[in-house]
Structure formats: C-alpha cells, structure tokens
Symmetry: C2
Subunit: 370 residues, 2 copies
C-alpha cells in the first residue's frame, strides 16, 4: 500500500492511498478557500450519562448536489476544485469540512458555560472516498479494492488512535437516501471520538464480562454457534464469515467478521483481510441482488478502543442495518426502539437469512492479490 | 374517573374511561373473530446484553387504512365492527391485536431453542384511543381530556405494574407518517415489559448514582438549572414545566415534567396533574403552530420501574423527539447515532427553543376541572 499525505488550501488533510506508487506532484484541491474554523462543543446529558456534540455550522453542509458538482469526484477544472485531485490513486481520505468532532485549534471558541458540563468536541471526522468512479458502489468494486479499503481503515485507525485525544475509531458507511445520505458517490466516514461512545462502551463491557467468565470472546462463541447451526450463514470462508445474527434487530441485519478474533483492522493478517473482503463483498452483492436495486444500509465496524489498554475481549466485526423490512416498507424506529431501546421484530432472522441465502452472487477469483 | 372493563369476542380486553358514568350495557366489538394467538418470543442479544422480541404475525398488521375502515373509530355498523363501541366514553384502552409482548397463554407455542437464550415474550401491548374524534389531535383536545389521559396512564401503569411478569410500563405516542404511524386516529400505545428495557435501565442507573452522591434527583437538579437559565423554557406553571433540554439530542426535543419529583402517573396530585396537562398541551400546540401544520414526534413517558422496589431517584417525565431538523429536512439517525449511540446536533438547543418560544398558543381557562 502506498500513501501520499497532502494539505488542502483551507488547512484540511488529504491522504491518497494506492496499490501503486503515487505521483508526489499531486496537489490537494478544496472547494473551500477560507480556513476551516470548526468549533463544535460537547454537552453532558445528565439523564443518559453521555456526551452530545453540537456543531451549528453543519447546517450549511452539501446536500445532494447535481452530478456536475460532485465534490467527491476528481477535480477536472482547476477553477472548480472538488475534494480530490485527478491522478492515479485508489482511495482518498480527507478531513470533513463539516465535522461534528475536530481537534481544537489554538484560538478557537471555547465551549459555552452552561448548566451542564461542556467540553471542546475533540476528535476527528474523516471522509473516505471508496473509488474515483461516482457511479460505482462498494459491493461492485474489485476484491483488491475492498482489501485495500480494509488496509486503509487499519491505517486510519492506527494513526487516529495514536492521538491522545482519541479513544475510539468507528469507520462506517451510510448508503441510500433512506438513511439520510447527502452524496451518492461511493464513500464512507470515520468518526474518531474523544471517549468510547455509548454503544461500543456497552458492547465492550458485556464482552469483558464474558471474557472474565468464560475465557473467550462473546462474538467468537456466537460465530461458533452460527456455524454449527448454519441456517443463517451467508458466507463461510477459511478466515471470515457473514451471517444474519440469531438476535438480529433489523430484518436484513448482517454481521461480517474474521473467525479468529482480532482487535482491529490493523491486526488483520493478509489472508484474513482477503477473506474478510470476500465476505463483505458477498453480503453487499446479495443485498443489491435481492430486489435487483441498490439496497440501502448503515454499516458500522467495531474495533477495540484506542485507549492504550489491551482488549482481548474485542473482536473486529461489521454490523449492517438495512432500513427496509419488506421490498416496499421501511422499518421505523419508534416508541419501543427509540424510547425504550427494546427492539421489536416482525420477521424471523431465519426467514430473512433464507431470502439472502437464495440470492446467487458471482465474485471473481483473485489473480493479483495486493 | 369512571371505568368499564369489557372482553372482546376474540378474548382481548377493552377498558373504557370517562369523566361521566358509562353505560354498563356497552359491548366490546372486534374486527377479528378468531381468538388472538400471540406467540412472540424473546432472544438474548449476547453482544449488547439485551433482549429482542420477535413476533412474525405482526407483518399482517393494519397499514394506513382509508377513513371508512378506521379501526379506532366507534363502530356504527355491527356488520363492520371496529375496536371500540359507539356510546358515551372519553378514552378507550384495548389489547393490541398485533402485540410484540403478551401474557403467555396456556398451550401457546414455546419459544424456539436457539444458540442464544430465549424466553416467552411476556408483557403487554395496549392501544390507547385518545378521543372518539378521528380528526382531532392530542394537543387540540380540551385540557380536561388531557388530564383524564394522565389519569388513565396512571391507572394502566398501576394495573399492569401489579402483574409479577411486568417490570416497566412505557406509555408513548408515535405521531406522523415520518415516524412510521400506520393509523391517523389520535392514539398512543403502552408497552409493558417483562424487564426494565435498556434506555430506562440506563437512566435509572444514572439517576440512582446521582441520588446516592447528591441526595436529590438528577432531573430535579436539571429542572432547577433550566428554570434559572430560562432561555430554553417553554412553559413554567406552579407545578409543571416544559423546556428544550440543554442536552437535546433532537433539534426540537422537549421534555415535560412535574417540578416536584413523583415516581409515576399514579402518584400525581390533582393540581400537579392539571398543570402537567397544561404544560403538555402548550408544547403540542407550539409544535403544530411552528410551521402551521401537524408536527410529527415520538413522545415517551418515563416512570419508575414496577419491580416492587422504592425508586426515590425516579422522576416522571416525557421526552418528545420530533424527526425534523428544519421545515423541509428530516434528521436521520445514521452512523454515529445508531452505530455509536453518540448524537451529533447541527442546531443549538437555545436557537430551537427560541423558535418554539415565539409560537403563541391559546389555552382555555379551565372552568370545570374533572
């Protein structure tokens, strides 16, 4: 993997990644000339015991621009710069211009004094451009590109996680207008948090307790059970699996994971990474094949916290939450889900898994592993 | 408050409530003749450490019927029974025909044996019809009707909470197609859970810790702060308040609460209840007045668990989450909110509160308290 680090005219960072060497003469464009002045702040939610971040300037963010103004496509006209340059690169990562979390700059507005504790919204929000091709989708990319993406996520996690103000790194993708996507060019995001956020914190605590009680990881135990049961498996390779979990909270929920626990992307071996890419691609192609149309989803990748502690209880994996419950109907999160955190499903995971198992997908045999 | 308990032809319960005596000759109709055979089950989610409920028969539930098939309107033609009878009653409560949680019946299907623990989905799901008028809305109802509703919620909580299989009672309303509403007749729901669900469990734990450390409730302390600050207050009466909380996670989030902590609806005094109804009505009218159109929201009312323990840390209150962030745009819950549980706001609560403060509402002076 090759990497080129650049700085945009407005001070934001851009990193280009490629399987080939990258021309060091490439320059980082930006649609914005004035320096970024992010001054988000955190407020403490005393009833839930968690932080909420406030970034009022985000209201001006880009919203479903026409294709000719796609900020994630390579710049072709220097008079109309986008976020990424033309040239030979495979994946680009840059600082979000509208971050909910950002490294506090010297001289930036201090957080307001309020009736609850406040703090600067430290951390980082990055945009990950999956490909130069605006019309592609993550699942349609070559396996080698997906493997590179897993490497990129590992590189970002290692770099962001090394910062003392960052405790947790979450790569995710929102796909489809149904989940609020504002740009259609294939891309994801990385949020690097100043604390371990509530959902990973809860999962870490549960996993740590399981580890203490059983001497093994809770996800490793579940994967063993899913493989033995078999009914909900969508992919089973030498190093990675994908399945509708027995405890799915969304009708078409799928988890993707290496079989052997690793703490994060950076700890994946080459063979594991290749098989994990194949597992992911299988799921995404099944999704799009199910109704022969692009299938929206939210995909979050969970890793160990970057708090400098060992986390043998952690097990890298993705959880994918599609918003549809049938071809025509969305699953709304309402009273019981949002108000109580208690999920109610009107579909059985076994039935939804069967639908996805029946979707045939073709994946290339890899001839040139990276 | 008067009450009449009835049984529907399919075995479900119907309770009618009124400020006036109710004709005991009223009979309970049902659109369904065959007995309810609810056999939902719970599955343990080992990574999150919580239960999920599965009720596959819910896929057949009523979805946005035309007005002439409104199941929540009084029955006018015995050949086409609805869920409620014609006659003089103010509020009706009946067992949901498509429950996610239900009292396990003798002889019902046992939960399946799976690779995670399972259990019968004990509990209860009730529908609360707020009025006989299909075209009304909760905020447009007379104050006396809202006061009666608070009494009804108290009565339901006391009755459901007394059951040994029920640990938590959550009254809520989903309003608007934006939050997945499938029937427009003004109504809410009550979920009675066999466990304290994750969100209330977290809030109880945080509140109990605050209580031990400070000898007072965390919400009572916050209300004192909000009243002193004043900028986010929407209603301040002798016994109740409504405000955009300083830590709002949704742009137009509002909380409604009695000023003095009470554990639940059943513990409200008459004057508290009257003022709480006025606070709630004020908020709902401001919502509808803001853009001069019906304003969707999710409203959840939090009370103490019904586990038989004293809960001095509990403080009855409502949290209202509207899905809009501006007149035209929805706030989607995506990567950081759903994946991490870390909420990112692009609006300041002070600004949203100002918008709502500027909406003038007129509420009747109550001449005939119930």
């Amino acid at each position: 993997m090759h990497r080129l680090e650049l700085t945009k005219p407005d001070g934001r960072r851009l990193t280009l990644y490629s399987r080939q060497p990258i021309d060091p003469a490439l320059a980082a464009p930006s649609p914005f000339a004035e320096p970024l002045n992010a001054s988000a702040h955190l407020r403490w939610h005393p009833l839930r015991g968690e932080w909420v971040t406030y970034a009022a300037y985000r209201q001006g963010r880009t919203f479903l621009p026409p294709p000719e103004y796609n900020p994630l496509a390579p710049t072709v006209d220097a008079a109309h710069p986008t976020e990424v340059p033309s040239g030979a690169w495979d994946i680009a990562v840059f600082d979000n211009r509208f971050p909910s979390l950002a490294e506090p700059l010297a001289g930036s507005t201090p957080p307001p004094e309020l009736i609850v504790p406040t703090a600067p919204a430290a951390g980082q929000c990055e945009v990950v451009v999956f490909t130069q091709d605006a019309k592609a989708s993550l699942g349609a990319l070559p396996l080698a590109q997906l493997e590179l993406l897993l490497q990129v996520w590992g590189d970002r996690t290692a770099r962001l996680g090394a910062r003392p103000d960052i405790q947790y790194v979450l790569p995710f993708e929102n796909r489809g207008v149904e989940v609020g996507v504002t740009l259609h060019h294939p891309h994801g995001q990385i949020y690097a948090y100043p604390v371990v956020p509530p959902v990973p914190a809860r999962m870490q605590a549960v996993a740590a307790e399981h580890w203490r009680a059983h001497g093994r990881g809770v996800l490793a135990a579940l994967i063993e059970g899913e493989r033995q049961d078999g009914r909900r498996m969508l992919y089973e390779g030498p190093h990675a699996v994908a399945f509708v979990p027995v405890c799915a909270r969304y009708p078409y929920e799928v988890w993707v994971a290496p079989i052997e626990p690793v703490e994060g992307f950076a700890q994946l071996g080459e063979a594991q990474r290749a098989d994990l890419a194949r597992a992911l691609k299988t799921v995404l192609l099944k999704y799009d094949g199910l109704w022969q149309r692009p299938f929206p989803y939210l995909m979050a990748w969970y890793q160990a916290p970057t708090d400098g502690q060992p986390h043998p209880e952690s097990h890298l994996h993705a959880q994918l939450y599609p918003p549809y419950r049938t071809r025509e109907r969305l699953k709304y999160l309402a009273g019981t889900e949002i108000g109580a955190g208690f999920f109610a499903m009107d579909a059985l995971p076994e039935d939804k898994a069967l639908e996805l198992r029946q979707v045939q997908v073709e994946i290339e045999v890899e001839v040139n592993p990276p």
